[in-house]
Amino acid sequence: MEPKNVYLQDLTRGLVKENPVFVALLGMCPLLGVTGFLFYGFGMGVATTAVAFGGTLMVSLFRNLIPSQVRIPIFIVIIATLVTVVEMSLEAFQPELHEALGVFVPLIVCNCLILGRLEAFSSKKPVLRSAADGIGAGLGFTLALVILAFVREVLGHGSLLGPNPDTVIQLFGPNFEPMTIFAQPAGAFIALGLLLALFNMFTKRFNI
């Protein structure tokens, strides 16, 4: 296999074949918590991708220096540091998003998707491949968040790009009665279940 293909493979693996949400069912907490609006879901995905990228990069850079007995606490410190940096940056530059995501930003620390990539991949593989893997996993997560948030915002609010009144697009006109259930956490579960079923149907049919 060409080396170039390896990177591409690392990058794309997380998108569909090993999608952290649709296949591994990781990171359910933010997935269900912040996908009420497309903008929030996308923001959460980008924040998580940034942490995943930083974490995989750091861990694979120092993988030979990290003693295996204490690797988990070191991973956690690295992730927590990155998350705090991301949180401070969000508060400074994206206050609206920071407010909306609230406690789910610090909770990225315990998103097992990230720790999982560090433990399973970055601690053993070279830097570039790890970085590609981190970005790929983050993008896969973002993809899932965006799809779920899209479904929930359209069904639950009848809008897109809300709730900011400057960008919001009302899709169905004033007489539309949104299915409020999809704006609620219970609706997130229902929507996720349906999406999982669809995803499995497609992957089976096309043998991805």
Partner: protein, 387 residues
């Protein structure tokens, strides 16, 4: 041992690097965050005090208080920034008062309450109930403001904090004397006072000696015993210990606790010769059953959630049946009182029945509805059968 040392050193090193990174990030972002918060704060000020010109900040133990002036240097009002411990960490909020101490509005600055539960404090429906309230209002859960079920801790914390802040602002910045009883002025003696508790009036006897309250006894109450123990004798003890009525009334029976405090306050105010507003003792209703003509009568009274309608059948000067036709109370609780209370009334042929059940308020409602039905029968000139 060497191995442990090596690992500890590596962990410490990771910690130090992480701290250095965080410091760097903090230094970059903090000025921006502060600036943004200041801008947000100015925006909040502008919302509450349109056209304000300047403000003067006073930092005290209770929080930060900004005195807001217009361009002619007249005081427009006060913006308080206070923090209160909610369910999960501090809730920081702004409370805007006009120059008479009335609340203009609330702005939640930050909180870490549970999303979907404790964050109801951000909702307009919760915040709006405080607008127009001032130190003159009770600002008490269940009286003039409502808690949000499911988020009791968060909302009660906010309500109490808002009340204290309103009193503090009135007293400290607006020069309004919030009426407080000076125990030292109360002559020695034993005084009685009453106030509304959670269910019915609470009557207390307060003993004052040497300018101090030395004993408080509840001599009458209608509260549910299992809850009342949460507030009594705890609340009297707190008052005696602090020699002050401004005590923490948050107990397992806050309604009763507030009732006790208000009853003590009324007793002391009466001792000082002031007029007090006491709950009117309900007149004992005395219906002579033998005067009620035979027939079936309908009556209603307020239950726990809504009106209770009963049908009472009287024959030969005796109540022969009582049927609840309508009620809106929770069925699981209501059945604790129905048919128990009707049975008791029919058994005793008297209205002085014990209404303490698993659903006391419903029980009282049934009793009152029966009384209303019968007194209605008498008022109609004993006119006869409604059927």
């Amino acid at each position: 041992m060497r191995e442990i040392l090596r690992l500890s050193l590596i962990l410490a090193l990771v910690g130090i690097i992480s701290a250095a990174l965080l410091t760097a990030a903090y230094n970059v972002t903090e000025p921006i965050i502060i600036e943004r918060r200041a801008a947000d704060y100015r925006q909040a000020l502008e919302n509450f005090f349109p056209g304000f010109a300047s403000f003067e900040t006073e930092q005290v133990e209770e929080g930060q208080f900004d005195l807001i002036y217009d361009d002619t240097d007249d005081l427009m009002g006060i913006m308080a920034t206070v923090a209160v411990l909610g369910y999960d960490g501090d809730i920081t909020y702004n409370l805007a008062f006009d120059d008479s101490g009335e609340i203009i509005g609330i702005n939640i600055v930050s909180h870490t309450e549970t999303p979907g539960i404790g964050d109801v404090i951000e909702r307009g429906s919760f915040q709006e109930q405080f607008e127009g309230k001032s130190h003159e209002d009770p600002i008490t859960a269940g009286e003039d403001v409502e808690i949000v079920t499911g988020a009791t801790v968060s909302t009660v914390a906010m309500i109490n904090s808002i009340r204290q802040t309103a009193d503090f602002v009135a007293q400290s910045f607006l020069g309004i004397e919030v009426e407080e009883i000076d125990f030292a002025e109360v002559p020695d003696g034993t005084y009685q006072g009453s106030a509304q508790g959670f269910i019915g009036p609470i009557v207390v006897e307060v003993e004052v000696s040497g300018g101090e309250v030395i004993d408080i006894e509840v001599i009458e109450h209608e509260e549910t015993a299992t809850y009342f123990v949460e507030s009594y004798p705890l609340i009297p003890e707190r008052i005696i210990e602090e020699q002050n009525l401004d005590i923490d009334t948050q107990t397992g029976a806050t309604g009763s606790a507030e009732g006790i405090v208000n009853a003590v306050e009324n007793a002391l105010l009466k001792a000082l010769g002031e007029d007090v507003d006491e709950p009117v003792e309900e007149e004992p209703v005395d219906i002579d059953l033998s005067e009620v003509p035979d027939g079936t009568y309908e009556g209603s009274a307020e239950g726990f959630m809504g009106p209770i309608v009963v049908e009472v059948e009287v024959a030969d000067g005796e109540i022969v049946s009582i049927e609840v036709l309508e009620h809106e109370d929770t069925p699981e609780y209501f059945r604790e009182s129905n048919p128990l209370i009707p049975d008791r009334i029919i058994d005793e042929q008297d209205f002085d029945v014990d209404t303490e059940t698993g659903a006391t308020v419903s029980a009282e409602g049934i009793l009152k509805a029966v009384l209303n039905a019968l007194s209605g029968a008498l008022d109609n000139g004993g006119g006869g059968d409604e059927n």
